[in-house]
């Protein structure tokens, strides 16, 4: 059992939890949180795949992918939250 395997499993676990929550919950904020957890899970399995246990280094290209993913996600999350807040604000219009 290597540490890579642990993180693979942890990443997949995050994916499963997030997908389950996405499919069972209607609350906007919670759905956005679930999408964020989903993204973290993907990042984790990607990094774990890029990790080479023999040399102990992680391939820089998946690292760059994950970095890009994090920035993209914060942008989309901000837009989603702005939309959710506007929706909440206009509920009694």
């Amino acid at each position: 059992m290597t540490s890579d395997l642990v993180y693979h499993v942890a990443g997949a676990g995050l994916l499963a939890i997030a997908l389950w929550r996405l499919a069972t919950c209607r609350d906007t904020l919670r759905r956005i949180t679930a999408l964020n957890v989903l993204a973290i899970g993907i990042a984790m399995v990607l990094l774990a795949s890029g990790h080479d246990p023999a040399t102990g280094v992680t391939n820089p290209v998946p690292q760059a992918f994950v970095l890009t993913g994090i920035v993209v996600l914060v942008a989309v999350t901000a837009a989603l939250l702005a939309l959710a807040e506007r929706l909440e604000g206009s509920s009694d219009e």
């Binding site: 994916l15 993204a39 399995v45 992918f65 993209v72 837009a79 939309l83």
Partner: protein, 477 residues
């Protein structure tokens, strides 16, 4: 300077200018859209004559760096985007401003549209899976902005559902890309055949296709789409329905061509889902009580038809059916944009968009109804429109193969589309005193020009369908 570089950077630069100086937004937007159309046409002509081109960005070759692949299919899509964009831009730029509320809407439209344009161009040219994911994110976000543009509560609600579904889709895509990396060690587009050769890689392709299906609103993952497309402003709906949906379909087509015979299963799924979409969309379009909802559901059905065509492509690159799919995408883009613009005008004029209240006081239909009718003819696939040539090629290929059940399905879809579009067209021809109290003929006489132009383009492309077909020959050779 290369056309491809300008195609991807010019719209983004223009978006920045339009966002920074709202007063110059309209003029910037129009100039950039015009320039983009010119560039796309120049590139298409060059590719049509000289064949496909590939470029390694920054001089870093494919597995490590990102490549641009400008072939006939990409060029056709670029021209399609440019044409539709031009029509919608004319509509937005020319519209009179009835009140101050719309000024802000219009200035906000331009940067969002230009970002959409830049993202679409980048997406069509990209030859890298991860890069595709990033372009999808720009596209999805800008499209949500366009949806929310009208600011009504329904539009905001639809925009939120659109964005969260879109994000789930692109995350699935990203998951697929991650698995592709984990399997093959690289993520450029040429890796697809290799992916199809291993269990893990096949799972990756399955996840990528699932993500694309969400983005393309493919049945049964279309749940977000009718609301989004019917609640947005007409110009935004035109862009969303005509172009944004095509991005995901384009990638599916590209992957399907790249993957060859090895992705037969995915193609079968596409074909079945497409058939489902065709029937489901048509059924709901037949029952819709609002015009925009009918048109939005017809998008579901038409996307289904295109997906069906992609799904029935054989692995061979010299087959005819994928050409049919490309042509159907083109004709649907032009016709659907024209249709949404026409619906916008009809709604503006009547003060409502209930189908039951479409009858007009005098018998003579106006230019908007005429544009709608031409677009409907193209969508149904009657000669001599581009839709007809596309369907003809599709049926030709299917009959060559003896795939009679599929032929029957396509014909059924055609009949259904004729049925639901006739609901509108026939009503426009009827007389009756059913004009809404607030109805007025808008003073803006040129307002139908864009819709008519786009509908005519769909018609003319059918007559000159040899042009796109020759261009497609320059694909993946």
């Amino acid at each position: 300077m290369n056309e491809t570089s300008l195609l991807v950077s010019l719209p983004l630069i223009a978006a920045l200018v339009a966002a920074a100086w709202p007063r110059a937004a309209t003029i910037t937007g129009v100039i950039a859209t015009l320039g983009n159309a010119g560039l796309a046409v120049v590139l298409a002509i060059r590719i049509g004559q000289g064949g496909a081109e590939a470029e390694a960005l920054g001089g870093w070759a494919a597995p490590l760096g990102i490549g641009f692949a400008a072939d006939g299919l990409a060029a056709l899509m670029l021209v399609m985007t440019a044409l539709v964009g031009l029509g919608v831009s004319v509509q937005v730029a020319g519209a009179p401003l009835p009140d101050a509320g719309r000024t802000g809407q219009r200035t906000a439209f331009w940067p969002l549209w230009l970002a959409t344009l830049g993202a679409m161009n980048a997406l069509f040219l990209s030859a890298d899976l991860f890069n595709l994911y990033v372009t999808f994110e720009i596209l999805g976000l800008a499209a949500v902005g366009l949806t929310a543009l009208s600011g009504t509560r329904t539009a905001l609600r639809a925009a939120f559902d659109y964005l969260s579904a879109g994000l789930a889709g692109s995350l699935l895509l990203l998951l697929g890309v991650a698995l592709a990396y984990a399997t093959a060690g690289r993520v450029d587009l040429a890796v697809v055949p290799e992916l199809a050769g291993s269990h893990e890689g096949r799972v990756a392709l399955g996840l990528i296709f699932a993500g694309l299906a969400v983005k393309a609103a493919l049945f049964p993952l279309h749940f977000w789409m009718p609301a989004a497309h019917s609640s947005a402003a007409p110009e935004a709906s035109a862009l969303l329905s005509a172009l944004v949906v095509k991005a995901a379909i384009y990638v599916a087509l590209r992957l399907s061509i790249e993957g060859g015979a090895a992705v037969e299963l995915l193609r079968l799924v596409l074909a079945v889902a497409g058939a489902g979409a065709m029937l489901w969309g048509a059924w709901h379009a037949l029952r819709a009580d609002r015009l925009k909802l009918l048109v939005a559901h017809s998008t579901v059905a038409q996307v289904g038809l295109i997906a069906l065509a992609i799904g029935l492509t054989t692995g061979a690159r010299d087959g005819t059916i994928w050409r049919a799919a490309a042509l159907l995408m083109l004709s649907h883009a032009l016709a659907k944009a024209a249709m949404f613009l026409a619906v916008g005008r009809i709604t503006e004029e009547l003060g409502h968009d209930r189908i039951s209240g479409l009858n007009r006081e005098e018998l003579r239909p106006g230019a908007a109804e005429f544009a709608f009718a031409i677009a409907a003819i193209s969508l149904i696939g009657l000669p001599p429109t581009a839709g007809f040539v596309g369907k003809w090629l599709l049926l030709d290929g299917l009959i060559d193969r003896g795939a009679w059940p599929w032929v029957a399905l396509v014909l059924l879809g055609t009949v259904l589309s004729a049925a639901y579009l006739a609901r509108v067209v026939s009503r426009c021809l009827r007389g009756g005193p059913h004009v809404a109290p607030g109805a007025r003929r808008p003073a803006w006489r040129a307002g139908d020009a864009a819709a008519l132009g786009l509908a005519t383009a769909a018609l003319a492309l059918g007559l000159a369908s040899a042009l796109p077909l020759t261009l497609l020959d320059a694909t993946l050779t």
